[in-house]
C-alpha cells in the first residue's frame, strides 16, 4: 500500500482528511469526484472499491482514462439509482454548495451509505464575514474564486448551518473537523461558534441515527 502522505502532498488537503476517515477495503462512492483525485488516493492508499459520479464530461473522461470507475451524472437527480446501504461511505467533497436541493442530496447519501462524509467551504469564516461587513461585496478569494454572477455555487452555508441540516435529516455527527485557510487542521477541538468563525473548511463524518 502506498503511503497516504506521499500521494496527497499535491492534492487538496481536505482530500487527505477525508481519506484518513475511510477504513481500508471499504466501498466508497464519491459524488462530484472531478477528475478522480480522491478516488485515486483511496484506491492506491486504502485499497477501497471506489466509484465516482461527476457532472462535467471533461472530469469524467479524465477520471475514466485514469482507470477509475466514474460515471457522468448529477448529484441532484442520479442518486436514486443506487440501492439502500450499498456503500460503506458516500463522500461529497466541496460540492454541496453547488447542489440544487442540498437537503435531498444529503438524505439520499444517508440512504445509500452507512457513513457519509461531507466537506464544505465555510461561509461563516471571519474572512468572509469581514468582506461582507466592511467591503460590502460578495467574497472572492483563493478558496472561493468565483464572482457572484458566474459561480456554480448556489447554496453556500456555514459550518453551523450544515450541522443544523444534519440534525434535521436525523443524522448523527460522528466527527467534525475544522481546517484553517492554509488547509491545516485546527489543533484544538473548538466549540461550534468558534469553529464557525475560524474554520475555512469543515469536514464531517455522519451516520444515520438508528
Amino acid at each position: 500500500m502506498t503511503d497516504l502522505a506521499d500521494l496527497v502532498t499535491d492534492t487538496r488537503v481536505d482530500l487527505r482528511i477525508i481519506a484518513s476517515l475511510i477504513e481500508p477495503g471499504s466501498r466508497v462512492l464519491d459524488i462530484g469526484c472531478g477528475a478522480g483525485e480522491l478516488l485515486e488516493v483511496l484506491e492506491r492508499s486504502r485499497r477501497v472499491d471506489a466509484r465516482g459520479i461527476e457532472i462535467s464530461q471533461k472530469g469524467v473522461n479524465a477520471a475514466v482514462a485514469r482507470g477509475l470507475a466514474v460515471i457522468q451524472g448529477d448529484a441532484d437527480s442520479d442518486l436514486s439509482q443506487y440501492p439502500d446501504q450499498s456503500f460503506d461511505y458516500v463522500v461529497l467533497s466541496e460540492t454541496i454548495q453547488a447542489t440544487h436541493n442540498a437537503r435531498r442530496v444529503l438524505e439520499e447519501m444517508l440512504r445509500i451509505g452507512r457513513k457519509v462524509i461531507v466537506s464544505l467551504p465555510n461561509f461563516g469564516h471571519f474572512d468572509v464575514r469581514f468582506r461582507l461587513m466592511f467591503l460590502g461585496r460578495m467574497p472572492v478569494s483563493k478558496r472561493l474564486p468565483y464572482s457572484w454572477y458566474d459561480t456554480p455555487n448556489i447554496h453556500f452555508c456555514t459550518i453551523s448551518d450544515f450541522v443544523a441540516l444534519a440534525h434535521e435529516t436525523g443524522a448523527t455527527v460522528e466527527q467534525a473537523i475544522t481546517l484553517n485557510a492554509a488547509g491545516r487542521k485546527l489543533s484544538l477541538p473548538l466549540p461550534e461558534w468558534l469553529a464557525n468563525l475560524f474554520g475555512a473548511q469543515g469536514v464531517f463524518l455522519l451516520s444515520r441515527q438508528r
Binding site: 472499491d49 466509484r51 464530461q57 469524467v60 473522461n61 477520471a63 475514466v64 482514462a65 485514469r66 482507470g67 477509475l68 470507475a69 466514474v70 460515471i71 457522468q72 442520479d78 439509482q81 443506487y82 440501492p83 450499498s86
Partner: protein, 403 residues
C-alpha cells in the same frame, strides 16, 4: 490479394469460398457438440472462424474477446482476405495500441449467421450439400454469444480479461455479462443499447424489404440460380449507412455539392455527391457480404432485448455481475443515443456493479466508434490499464509514455 483474385476471378467468388473454407483458423463442432439455439433447435455440425493476436500468458488471464458489429468480421487487426483492406479496428487493436497486443491475447471471431467462415446462411447445409439459405434457423445475439463461449472454452480460457464491442458487438459484450457473469473480468460496450428500439427495427426492416424485393433474391435461393440480389442489398446498405452518420457530418462532408458536374441534370443520375457516395457504399458492400446473412444479422439485433427474460427489469439482468464495466456513447449517435447507454449504466449501478461511463463529443454519428477519435482511445486504454492493474497483468514498462 491479387493472387487470390486471380484464383477466384471475383471478390464475390472469393467471399463465397470463405463461407465454408475461411483463410482464418476454424473451430469445428460435430454432432455431439450441437449448439442450442433460442429458436428451439440445435445446430450441428457447426463451425466458428476466428483470428487471434498477441500471446496468451501462462495463467491465461490476458485474453480479450472482441465482438464485431453487424457486417464486421474476425479481421479486427488483420488484412481482410476478401477486400484486401486493413482490419476494421486496426486503430484500436495492435502492438502499442489501446487494446495492446503486446500485453493482451486478442480473439475476434466471425459471428454466427455471418458469412466469413462461421456457420451462417451462406455455409453449406450438410443435409443438402447446398447453402442453408433460409433453412438456417433465425439466430439471436444470445446464440452468437453461446457460439463465442464454445470457442473460448475450446481455446482453454475459463475467464476472459475483457469482452469488448461496439454497436452489435456491444450488445454481445452486454449479453456475455448477462449469460456468463463469471466468465470475464471486464466489459467494454461502445455505441450500443440494451435493446433494439422501434426506430432501429424500422430501419432494418427497410433493408430487409429491399433485399427481398430484388427479383434476384429468388426467395433466398439465389445461389441455386447463379444470381446475387446485389441491387436490393446495395439499397439496404445505403439506407443503413445513413443511420451510421449524423446530419452534421453528412452536411459538412457533402453539403449540396454536385458530383463531377456544373449544373443539375434534370434527371435521376447521381447529381449530388451524397448520392454518389451512397451508391458507392452500396456497391462495394455487396461484393463482401451475403444477402441472406444480412437478413439474419439484422434480425438478431432486432430480437435483442436484454431485459425481456428478466421481467422487463434491466437491473435484474446484471444481478450478480462481477465484472467492471465501461460504457461509451457519442453525442451525435442517433442510432444508439446516449440515453440508451445511460439506461444500462443505471441498471448496473442498481445491481451494485462497478461501472465507468463516458459520453464523447463527436459530430460523426454512430460510426464514431470505428474512427480516429483520440478521446475514445484514451478512455479504452485507461480503463483497460486500470483493470489490468487490478487483475495483475504485466504492463508496458512505463505506461505513461506510451501514446
Amino acid at each position: 490479394m491479387s493472387d487470390n483474385i486471380a484464383e477466384y476471378e471475383t471478390q464475390d467468388a472469393l467471399r463465397r469460398n470463405e463461407a465454408d473454407h475461411p483463410s482464418s483458423p476454424v473451430m469445428r463442432f460435430m454432432a455431439d457438440q450441437a449448439l442450442p439455439l433460442d429458436a428451439g433447435v440445435a445446430l450441428a455440425p457447426w463451425q466458428i472462424a476466428y483470428q487471434t493476436y498477441g500471446e496468451l500468458n501462462a495463467d491465461k488471464s490476458n485474453a480479450v474477446l472482441i465482438c464485431h458489429a453487424l457486417t464486421g468480421d474476425q479481421h479486427v487487426a488483420s488484412v481482410n482476405p476478401v477486400t484486401g483492406k486493413p482490419g476494421w479496428w486496426s486503430l484500436m487493436v495492435g502492438p502499442g495500441k489501446p487494446i495492446d497486443t503486446d500485453r493482451f491475447f486478442v480473439i475476434c471471431s466471425n459471428v454466427l449467421g455471418g458469412c466469413l467462415g462461421t456457420t451462417g446462411p451462406a455455409s453449406t447445409n450438410p443435409a443438402t450439400g447446398r447453402p442453408y439459405g433460409l433453412d438456417l434457423p433465425v439466430l439471436t445475439v444470445p446464440d452468437m454469444v453461446r457460439a463465442q463461449k464454445a470457442l473460448v472454452d475450446a481455446l482453454g480460457i475459463t475467464k476472459l480479461f475483457s469482452v469488448v464491442g461496439g454497436s452489435m458487438g456491444g450488445m454481445q459484450a452486454l449479453q456475455w455479462a448477462a449469460s456468463y457473469p463469471d466468465a470475464m473480468f471486464s466489459v467494454i460496450a461502445i455505441a450500443t443499447s440494451h435493446r433494439h428500439s422501434s426506430q432501429n427495427i424500422a430501419f432494418h426492416e427497410v433493408g430487409r424489404q429491399a433485399v427481398m424485393a430484388d427479383p434476384d433474391w429468388c426467395g433466398g435461393r439465389y445461389f441455386d440460380e447463379g444470381l446475387n440480389p446485389k441491387k436490393g442489398l446495395a439499397v439496404a446498405r445505403m439506407a443503413a449507412h445513413i443511420t451510421y452518420m449524423s446530419s452534421e457530418s453528412l452536411h459538412s462532408k457533402f453539403g449540396r455539392n454536385l458530383q463531377d458536374r456544373e449544373h443539375l441534370t434534370f434527371g435521376f443520375d447521381a447529381d449530388f455527391q451524397i448520392e454518389s457516395y451512397l451508391r458507392h457504399q452500396g456497391m462495394s458492400f455487396v461484393d463482401r457480404f451475403d444477402a441472406n446473412s444480412y437478413l439474419y444479422v439484422t434480425r438478431a439485433t432486432d430480437y435483442f432485448d436484454l431485459a425481456a427474460d428478466h421481467g422487463g427489469v434491466l437491473a435484474n439482468v446484471f444481478k450478480g455481475a462481477k465484472a467492471r464495466f465501461c460504457l461509451i456513447s457519442f453525442t451525435s449517435d442517433w442510432l444508439y443515443p446516449t440515453a440508451e447507454a445511460r439506461a444500462v449504466v443505471h441498471a448496473l449501478n442498481a445491481a451494485g456493479a462497478s461501472v465507468s461511463f463516458v459520453e464523447i463529443d463527436s459530430d460523426r454519428g454512430h460510426d464514431s466508434f470505428l474512427l480516429d477519435i483520440p478521446e475514445q482511445f484514451r478512455i479504452v486504454r485507461g480503463f483497460l490499464s486500470g483493470a489490468a492493474r487490478a487483475r495483475g497483468i504485466a504492463g508496458p514498462a512505463n505506461p505513461e509514455t506510451t501514446k
